[in-house]
């Protein structure tokens, strides 16, 4: 196998695993044959190959995800709830981490406000934990429930800190700050003894 063929084998990893298993060998053969024909213009050939991968792989990945999504929906309400909690955890975690980063930068580092720096740092940790817990729930990792509970507790700590520092929080902030961590904690507790099954994301 030539270096170019080995490189193409690596590039094939951009495609979903199932698709690779089914068509990877045929694609590698077609690539090899194409390469033999266009030896004189290797740069153009590689450019075309990369464009081909960039165009086709994302669509096939999306199709594979959609198929997995359909399978998840068919497997029942519990899995759907887990997906919803996981996606919410990732979204809220990302929001929290971004806001905290802004807070740390603006108030903590620029204005030297130690309270904001501490609150922002804990909030960033909570955001990162939420994202990690969300991904672990999606992947059905064995430690997903423990991670989710740790994230929920950290979020509650952040919220308690914020509630003390900023007593006039909006209803939405209260809902998000207290409601979601409690819901996530309860869900993780309920989900712990259940069978973790096959991974949703590979």
């Amino acid at each position: 196998m030539s270096a170019a063929e080995r490189a193409y084998q690596l590039l094939l990893r951009a495609y979903p695993r199932g698709f690779r298993d089914e068509y990877g060998r045929e694609m590698a053969l077609a690539f090899r044959d194409q390469g033999r024909e266009v030896q004189r213009n290797a740069a153009r050939f590689w450019a075309e190959t990369l464009v081909d991968i960039a165009r086709s792989a994302p669509r096939l990945q999306l199709e594979a995800l959609r198929l997995r999504g359909d399978r998840i929906i068919q497997t029942g309400e519990g899995t759907m709830t887990k997906m919803t909690m996981a996606i919410l955890a990732i979204m809220i975690g990302a929001l929290e981490a971004m806001n905290a980063l802004q807070e740390v930068w603006g108030a903590g580092i620029v204005s030297h406000d130690s309270r904001a720096l501490l609150g922002g740092t804990i909030a960033m940790v909570a955001g990162a934990l939420l994202i990690t817990a969300g991904i672990a729930l999606l992947r059905r990792s064995p430690n997903a429930a423990a991670l989710a509970q740790a994230a929920a507790v950290t979020c509650l700590v952040v919220f308690a800190f914020l509630a003390l520092a900023l007593p006039l929080l909006s209803g939405f902030a209260i809902l998000l700050g207290i409601g979601f961590p409690i819901a996530l904690f309860a869900f993780a507790h309920w989900d712990r003894p259940r069978d973790i099954g096959a991974p949703i994301l590979s």
Partner: protein
């Protein structure tokens, strides 16, 4: 009332086809081919202006197999060129119908373009 009969999609329900899909179906109208032979056929017919990469080709073939426009017709070595066994594909009745419907659609478009003098007249 729930439907009990399985509905078979008509070829027209798949129209318009993507350019890659139409190219692959046209290549298979001439007979069963393996992946690289389809790529060659498309490149030759279009005089090199259309080049399907392996990703586009097999991604499209997979979708065509899923909807039943193309079927696999076994695996064997290409007697002309090759030492490796390859998977061959053939067009189905549904695929042929869809290719015909797409060709008619494109023909109508070309007629309309001609009427509007977009083509068929010398440009200044």
């Amino acid at each position: 009332m729930a439907r009990t009969e399985t509905s078979v999609p008509s070829p027209e329900s798949h129209i318009p086809l993507t350019p890659a899909t139409f190219e692959i179906l046209m290549a298979l109208v001439g007979g069963e081919r393996h992946g690289y032979a389809i790529m060659r056929e498309v490149a030759e017919r279009s005089e090199g202006t259309v080049r399907l990469g392996p990703g586009t080709l097999y991604g499209t073939l997979k979708r065509l197999l899923d909807v039943g426009m193309v079927a696999e017709s076994g695996e064997r070595a290409d007697p002309e060129t090759d030492d490796e066994r390859r998977r061959y594909y053939r067009i189905t009745k549904l695929g042929l119908g869809a290719a015909r419907a797409e060709a008619r659609r494109l023909e109508q478009l070309v007629r309309a373009a001609r009427r509007m003098k977009l083509i068929g007249v010398h440009q200044p």
